[in-house]
Symmetry: C2
Subunit: 367 residues, 2 copies
């Protein structure tokens, strides 16, 4: 199953305008997915997310399998019901969190045993189980289990992780049985061009509904990341969506769209929002700063979000200063809207053939 249509390609870059059909509606690409880790995008109601322009969310399989557990999600009618989100949901495989959040116990070709970061209980995860869980969660896009490596790892370890990622992807595909769910594979290989090519080639042979790039945005820097993305997308089939996992800043996103990426997720808009950091067209604002104390300006002039239409910088600074929940809520609303406005502009610029010039100017101004 592949329900991805390319509506337009940019003449001067690899950027593509498209639509990905899912069981819960279409995703306009390039798309940004707010992160709803454990079944909620922190601090926001689905109504506020929809109003901010999000049409697809990401949820973390690792967190959901620990709490409330897949059986509970099933009993509650599936992930969409739990979250009260009627649009598309992408679930990751859990692999990244196993490697970053939990204490690893064993890893071998069969799978991985880890100690839960919640209560230390030992849990087994393998390709078949990761596929089965995502299937039962009922997400619209599932990800293959992959082995993530840290930035700058030795060549031998990198090769071993890439080989395992390929073998696990094959097993995920064999285990995958839900015709209403897309299955994407994850290309690993660090910033090693040869490893990326090798991994991409092998995964493409297995024929997935889409391809993600994993293991980027973890310290390699903007230039290396963009170069790796560009080199990797060139090896992926045109007609399948491409997803850059966990990235990133507005600048990263603009550059990666130019390098051929269609989908993104990142905690930045909500995590930064909770920490009083606002994204704006004119650069970041830190709302705890006392310079805003009596400012009647909105966070971003011209922004159409609920926060900017109704609250002054001074009010928001006061809410953060007094630890009121409304501060994090309002800046999360604004930042998610900022990201969605960015994606809408990107799609508009690709549609009108102006993406390359616009993106070059943006990257020059902000990087």
């Amino acid at each position: 199953m592949s329900d991805y249509r390319i509506l337009k390609t940019d003449p001067n870059s690899q950027a593509r305008l498209g639509r990905l059909e899912t069981s819960h509606g279409e995703i306009a690409t390039p798309a940004f997915m707010p992160v709803g880790t454990g079944g909620t995008v922190k601090g926001l109601t689905p109504q506020q997310l929809r109003a901010a322009g999000a049409d697809v969310l990401l949820a973390n399989t690792y967190h959901l399998m620990l709490r409330p557990g897949v059986e509970v999600v099933e009993a509650l009618g599936g992930l969409h019901r739990l979250m009260s989100w009627e649009g598309p949901i992408l679930t990751d495989s859990g692999g990244y969190q196993v490697f970053s959040l939990s204490q690893l116990v064993t890893i071998n070709d069969s799978g991985v045993e880890f100690a839960s970061h919640v209560d230390g209980s030992r849990i087994w995860l393998d390709a078949e189980k990761a596929t089965d869980i995502q299937n039962r969660l009922g997400s619209d896009i599932a990800m293959c289990l992959d082995q993530c490596t840290s930035f700058g790892v030795e060549a031998e370890e990198l090769k071993s992780a890439v080989d395992r990622t390929i073998r696990w992807a094959k097993r995920c595909k064999q285990a995958h049985s839900n015709p209403n769910q897309h299955l994407f594979a994850v290309v690993q290989g660090g910033v090693d061009a040869e490893m990326r090519s090798y991994c991409a080639k092998k995964l493409v042979e297995l024929d997935f509904d889409g391809y993600a790039l994993g293991g980027l945005g973890i310290g390699e820097g903007h230039e290396k990341m963009t170069a790796t993305v560009r080199q990797s997308t060139a090896l992926l089939p045109e007609e399948r969506p491409r997803y850059l996992m966990g990235v990133g800043t507005p600048t990263d996103i603009i550059a990666a769209v130019g390098a051929g990426i269609d989908m993104f997720d990142c905690v930045l808009p909500t995590r930064n929002g909770r920490n009083a950091f606002a994204f704006t067209r004119n650069g970041p604002l830190r709302l705890r700063n006392s310079v805003h104390i009596d400012s009647t300006e909105p966070v971003e002039q011209g922004c159409d979000c609920y926060c900017c239409r109704h609250f002054s910088r001074g009010a928001i600074r006061h809410f953060f200063n007094t630890a009121e929940m409304l501060g994090p809520i309002l800046l999360s609303i604004h930042n998610v809207r900022f990201y969605q406005r960015l994606m809408a502009t990107i799609r508009e610029k690709i549609g009108s053939g102006e993406f390359y010039g616009w993106a070059s100017e943006e990257l020059e101004n902000h990087y």
Copy 2:
């Protein structure tokens, strides 16, 4: 200025149906005011408050004078702008918090000096200053500075506090200069019928736009409170609104309406909501309880709030279990809506002449 109209009185109790006009719109009474301590009802946007049916909010002068300070509120365009609330706002005088939250330094007939609970700085508050601050905040209803006493205080201390409350009310009225702002006096006197009568009589002679009962709901119990309320309202002019400060549970409110009260405020719906406690027609629910783990039921069957229309008890339990902000947000929405539905029912029952029978049944069932 008194813009209170009684539309209907209950034939079998002291309950009244009315409308209080303010510079920011009408308040349908009996009314419940959610508490927006420092300029925000914790966890809720004004949009969500409006959707929950609130038409008037309370804000705390004590908190606002400490942070962000009255000058900052003025610079930000006043309290309505700070809060982004276009409806009526009532501010208390700050007195209650001075006596309950801060460390008292001096109290005498002139006023009170206290140490801020935020940074220990010494602050002076007196009748004129409390009036001036509320005037500058721009609330629609201001309260006179009063001296609160603890439950069970000695007769001598009670008398001294009542006398001071009367003297301060007189000074507040003299200092009050805003024709767009109602000024209410506060009747004190504990549960001592003689003191309450004395205080009410003296305050009524001074002629205020409305009268509040203070110093109740602080440990005297439901019966004593209701008796004191009934005895006090009998001494207040029919044609002025009556406000029972800081009260209370649904049962307290039903009983107090029957005893002639028109306005209420209380932190219960939001504070309890943040602590996973939901009010329902069938009694309270504690949403952390594992009995809800796989419940697909809404918090309250038949409730029309955003929480009940979109989320299961199981989902909400999961959000509390994982410390997600959405849990407190959703239950605050539900509880505020529950209180507003209660007030709407109360108004409807007074309107149809059925209040007494309905209230008697409710109090029997829930008390």
